[in-house]
Subunit: 202 residues, 4 copies
Amino acid sequence: MPKVGMEPIRRDALVKATIAEIGRVGSLDVTVAEIARSAGMSPALAHHYFGGKEQIFLAAMRHVLRALHRQVAVRLRAARGDNGRRHHARLVALIRTNFDDENYTPAVIAAWLNFYVLAQTSVEANRLLRVYHGRLLSNLRHDLRPIVGGRAEALAVRLGALIDGVYLRQALGDQALDGKSASALVIAALDAGIAEANVRPE
Amino acid sequence: MPKVGMEPIRRDALVKATIAEIGRVGSLDVTVAEIARSAGMSPALAHHYFGGKEQIFLAAMRHVLRALHRQVAVRLRAARGDNGRRHHARLVALIRTNFDDENYTPAVIAAWLNFYVLAQTSVEANRLLRVYHGRLLSNLRHDLRPIVGGRAEALAVRLGALIDGVYLRQALGDQALDGKSASALVIAALDAGIAEANVRPE
Amino acid sequence: MPKVGMEPIRRDALVKATIAEIGRVGSLDVTVAEIARSAGMSPALAHHYFGGKEQIFLAAMRHVLRALHRQVAVRLRAARGDNGRRHHARLVALIRTNFDDENYTPAVIAAWLNFYVLAQTSVEANRLLRVYHGRLLSNLRHDLRPIVGGRAEALAVRLGALIDGVYLRQALGDQALDGKSASALVIAALDAGIAEANVRPE
Amino acid sequence: MPKVGMEPIRRDALVKATIAEIGRVGSLDVTVAEIARSAGMSPALAHHYFGGKEQIFLAAMRHVLRALHRQVAVRLRAARGDNGRRHHARLVALIRTNFDDENYTPAVIAAWLNFYVLAQTSVEANRLLRVYHGRLLSNLRHDLRPIVGGRAEALAVRLGALIDGVYLRQALGDQALDGKSASALVIAALDAGIAEANVRPE
DNA sequence: AATGAATGAGCCTTCATTCAT
DNA sequence: AATGAATGAAGGCTCATTCAT
């Protein structure tokens, strides 16, 4: 029962199915046929809309990255804090967003891991991940500077790497490190960095 | 000209070729033929020695893990430090080993990343990575306890995740973060954790 | 904005686009979608009008054959010549028509070649080409007989094959053999045949 | 029952099967699977030995061209003729070789036609056909010059095109023009060209 | 000990064709 | 009149794996 205006619906379904399937099998060795079936359509249609397997993967990456970006923007805007605590509140909000229920899903985590692998091969995937990293660092730096001054850069890099490290660890799926604990872990590192800066000023 | 006693030599060549090839293409999509050719033998022989592709991968993982383990042991034993600084010296040695010239190679980094992917599928790979994590945490914990007491566990987890995060970041290959900077980054986090513990005791 | 009476226009556009596309890619491996797009409509509409891909090809063949046929008729009627030279003039006109600017185009030449291929598969295409051959031979024979008598048949076959051979050679696209040279080549063969007949009568 | 030294045997079988299959279906739309099956092996093996479909086609072309080339060489060397008739005898031998039982087969004729189509797409196929044409013209020219002098070039081109034209005509498969008649047709054109040269010297 | 030979299985991709609107 | 939507079928190609030698 073909209808008009299906394209955005189909594309969206495919993107979501892609993330789900990558999460399910844990690697990029997902067939287009599986993705398409999971999205309720034929493989041919998937190709028709995206042009190829890598395009589908890239669209899935963009979806995840865009979603995270949007949520971060919303949360940052909503972050409140008395006096000088506002920057700290924004940092906490930023960290928590990375580990909230929407982004810190098994499927999304597995997808992340595989996007890193894809970035070894695909220049576009590489570019996308770098954009993500750039944004993350920029956000961290922006709110760290008023708090720790010249140590902002180093601390931003440390926290950025830590976030990814926690994701990576979660990809192993062993220990139960839920979103709350994960963000607590990173926030603790944030506070340690701030505390140290106060103790030993530059 | 087939010779006797070639097995260990062949196996070793295959393992090294596997790491090199995974590093070269940046994914597990390496053909057995490529690995075998790179190791100077026929695909059939590679099969004969390892029994299958996954076995080859697992052998490569074990090789990387074992090498790291050995070096850590050596370095820890060699670590010296006056008085209470001995534990700190051991921690620094542990961290530096993870980022020395032998382990922090592009090929090895790429292999690591892909071992995480493999661990999503292969139970044995998963087990191996957990063993690695366990050892790392255990090592960290052991030398952190005398320094930060009850905060050892949390700090160990934090540093462990940070190490992986730095590796992951390096897999993107963008910014020049050499081994020295990488270990400095993690050591800074270590010191921040210690400093915080001293400022705000439990 | 669908209009009435579009059918003949659409069909014509498709036929011309077919010839152009076959010429462009040099084979029958042209997709219906390409032809339709080149003709400014959807593949579905192309199908609607012709019923299938082979029908489109056949229509293109008929178009080329009919065009050639018409032009030959016109030129033959226009051919003048004093006394016994009239038949010779008609033969020359016939040959020249095959190599004039309208028929001796890269696209048409490539199409011709591929029509021969199509004729290996499609009975209708085969029939069409035979009709063309029949007409060509008949035309040649008709004006050769008054000149070379009993040798007309053999000479007609020879000239007919030669014309096709020149087309085939041109399909390779290498040497610059323009229409003028091509017809000169065939006319020279015609004159040679006539000269021989005069020298050694049957 | 795998054996050693199969490669040349397999390659040869594939080449022959390719020609046969192209002849059978009358176009290049032959699947590698069909060719392989017809040659008694799996499609994978065909790919293994040739690397791809086009390579298989090109190998088939080379085979046909090489075979023709060899036979021509042999026949030319064997051609005898009293006095000035030797060149004529060589020309006749050359023409006859093109239409003997080995080269003027339905399958080979169909293959020829399709090689022309392939030459529209594949540079290598194009090159091969040009080499063939170059040799044919060169051979014709060489033995025509002593007979018709300055008219050798034009006559060579004419005869070359005529040979191809006869092949093309035969590809239609209609009229029964056996090898003997075909070569007689071309030889008649040769003689006509010679006769004309004698009647009207340059 | 070592390998050339061989294949089954599977995947990405293309495309003619159909259909509801 | 016209098209976007959709797919079944098929083809080229790859590759891990097996086997006889």
